[in-house]
Amino acid sequence: MKPASFEYRAPEQLDELLELLADDFTDVRVIAGGQSLVPMMNFRLSTPELLLDLRRVDELGALEHRPDGALSVGATVTQARLLRQLEQQGGWPVLAEGIRHIGHPQIRSRGTVCGSLAHHDPTAELPALAVALDARMTVAGPQGRRTVAAADFFTTYYETVLEPGELLAEVVFPAWPAARGWGFRELARRRGDFALVGAVATVDRDAAGATAEAVALVLFGVGERPVRLGGVEQALAGKPLDAAALASVEPLVAEAIDPVDDLHASADYRREIAVQLSVGALADAWERSSARV
C-alpha cells in the first residue's frame, strides 16, 4: 500500500506549472487535495512519473463572489472551506447539502471541489451539482483558458473534456436566486459511502408562485456521467408540482436512465430508487421555493 516512486514539484507560478504539465514525454498528474488520487497511487492503480502540486499557486486558491452574483471556486479550495463559506454567508444551499454528503470530515477538510469535478466519479455529488446548477468550468492549458459548460464537461466514467496538459482552474456557479427551491436526496449503503443513486433538483416558481417556471433534475449513480432529465424538466414546467404532477413523471424518470448491475445494487433496484429520489427531491424543491421576486 505504498505508492510507486515519482518526482514532485510545487511551483508558485501557474505558467510554470502549466509548462511542466504540457510535457508530452512524461506521465504527469496534478494533485490538489489528493483524496481520490492518493488512494489510487497507494494501490498503484495510478503511477505518475511527475506529480504537480497546486498548493503554492495563490491564484488557484480564490473563493469569491463576482459582481454578477456568481460564486467562483478555485482549484485548491477544499470542500470544507466552501461549505463553511456557504453556511456563514448563505446562498447555494443545495451545494452545501451536497457537500455534507461527501465522504467524511477528514476527507472534506482536504478534498477539493475542483478535484472531485476533474476526477469525475459518476457516483460523486459535485459533478451532478455542477450540471444541475449550470456551472461553468474554467480550463487552463498551454493555449490559455477556455470555458466549458458543466453539461459538456463530463464525458464518461472518470473522464472529462480535459486534454493532456490542461487542468481545471476554477468552477463558477451562477447566482442563486433567493426564491429558488432545492432538493438533494441520496441513498448510500453507509454514511459517507459513494452513493448508489442520488438526485439534485431545483425549482423556480413564476411571479404568482402558483407554478414552476423552471425545473432542473439531475441524477447521479445511474450512468457514465450525471444525467440531466430534460424530459421531466419540460413536463413539469408551467405546472404546480403537486402529487399528481410528480406521479406523472415517474415513468419518464424510469425510461430516461439506463443504470447497470454491480455488486452494490441491481439495475432494477437503482431505477426504482432513482424514481423515488427524483420525486422526493422535486417535492422538496417545490416546497422550498417561493414566488419569483
Binding site: 500500500m1 505504498k2 505508492p3 510507486a4 516512486s5 515519482f6 518526482e7 514532485y8 510545487a10 512524461t26 494533485i31 489528493g34 483524496q35 492518493v38 488512494p39 497511487m41 497507494n42 494501490f43 512519473e49 511527475l50 506529480l51 502540486d53 498548493r55 470544507a80 455534507r100 465522504g103 467524511h104 470530515p105 477528514q106 476527507i107 477538510s109 482536504r110 453507509r190 454514511r191 459517507g192
Partner: protein
C-alpha cells in the same frame, strides 16, 4: 526518471509544537513520516487507503487522514498527533480522560484516530448535534466496540471541555 537518483524534498513541519526539518522522498506518506521520521508511533496505520481513519491527525487544525497526504505536501504545516494531547506523566487531555472513563475502546488500535477526530470536532463545534457528532465519527472505523461507548465518550468529553472552559 527512475534511472536518476531518488529526489529528496526538503520539508519543515511543526509536530506537536516541535519544529522538524527533514529531506523526504516524494512518495513518503505523512503517516510514515510521523511514525518513522518524527518517531511518534501513536498514529496508527490501518488501511492505508483512506477508509479506516486510524491515521487521523490534525493538519493546521483540521482532521485529515495522514495516509492520504504526502509528507512533501505538508511542508509548512502544523501537525498535531495523539502524543500532543498530554505530556507523559501529566493528566490526560479531557477527551482522553473521557474515552478512558467511558471505555470508548477495546483493542485500542483505532483509538488515536478517534481521539484526534473528537478533539477536532469539539474544538470547532463545542456542542455538536447528534447528527454532527455521528457525521464526524463516521470517518473512523472501530471493529471492537460497536461505537456506543465511543459516542458516550465524545459526549462526556464535550461536558468536560465545557466545564474546563467555564473555570
Amino acid at each position: 526518471m527512475s534511472e536518476h537518483a531518488v529526489q529528496q524534498v526538503p520539508i519543515r513541519v511543526t509536530v506537536n509544537g516541535r519544529e522538524l526539518a527533514a529531506e523526504v522522498e516524494p512518495r513518503l506518506l505523512l503517516s510514515d513520516f510521523i511514525r518513522h521520521h518524527a518517531g511518534l508511533t501513536g498514529t496508527h496505520v490501518g488501511c492505508e487507503h483512506g477508509v479506516c481513519g486510524a491515521c487521523t491527525v490534525l493538519v493546521d487544525g483540521a482532521p485529515q487522514r495522514s495516509c492520504l497526504v504526502f509528507a512533501a505536501q505538508a511542508d509548512g504545516a502544523e501537525i498535531r498527533t495523539v502524543e500532543g494531547l498530554a505530556e507523559p506523566g501529566a493528566p490526560l487531555h479531557p477527551v482522553q480522560q473521557a474515552f478512558h472513563e467511558e471505555h470508548g475502546m477495546q483493542c485500542g488500535f483505532c483509538t488515536s484516530g478517534f481521539l484526534m477526530t473528537t478533539v477536532a470536532l469539539l474544538e470547532e463545534t463545542p456542542h455538536p448535534s447528534d447528527e454532527q457528532l455521528v457525521d464526524a465519527l463516521s470517518g473512523n472505523l472501530c471493529r471492537c466496540t460497536g461505537y456506543r461507548n465511543i459516542v458516550a465518550a465524545a459526549r462526556s468529553a464535550e461536558r468536560k471541555l465545557a466545564e474546563a472552559g467555564d473555570e
